[in-house]
Symmetry: C2
Subunit: 112 residues, 2 copies
């Protein structure tokens, strides 16, 4: 499961809201549809996308399905984000990076 799958699953506003909702605890399809003020089929479709992205799981309770968040995608996102920590913690701030790169560029020019 690659990152773009997870990211595009989350990029849709309704699906992002579904994930936010499920953060509070498991919910059925109908409950989700109600909270988001969308129709049941749309809720099912969005949940299908989230499921295929590995972001939710569900358990069958009679004729209801109780959806729940899965932890793996969040771990994965956090792992990916960690690679950028040097940048957003500004150990190297953007000016540093820019100046350093300018120097690189200058060196390369002098080689020719």
């Amino acid at each position: 499961m690659d990152y773009t799958t997870i990211l595009s699953a989350l990029a849709e506003p309704n699906r992002l809201q579904i994930v936010e909702l499920l953060r509070m605890g498991p919910l059925t399809v109908g409950e989700i549809a109600d909270h988001l003020h969308i129709r049941q089929p749309q809720a099912s479709k969005h949940l299908r996308v989230l499921f295929k992205a590995g972001m939710v799981e569900f358990s069958v309770e009679a004729n209801r399905r109780i959806y729940n968040l899965r932890s793996e995608p969040f771990k994965a996102l956090d792992l990916w984000l960690k690679k950028y920590r040097d940048i957003w913690e500004e150990k190297f701030d953007n000016l540093d990076r820019y100046l350093h790169d300018l120097q690189q560029r200058e060196n390369k020019r002098n080689e020719n």
Copy 2:
């Protein structure tokens, strides 16, 4: 700038790769196009999307534009992700959440 803007900017494979590239340091449009084996106009378009999402900035160097990552969106993503730490650190694992919710549901049923 909301989360879905950032997420959909990252959801496109080429744009995700651009971000990964810029993690190593600033690059010009042409360099980015070369690395990704895409044509210059497409690189420009993707950079435009990333720019409007606040993910990159650029400095003008003669007739070149040197693009660089911005830290804010990454901070924002990390902040958002933090809300889910209870889940992916499995302090409450999914089974716990499920059982707890089942109890809730049971209580609600008995009220009627």
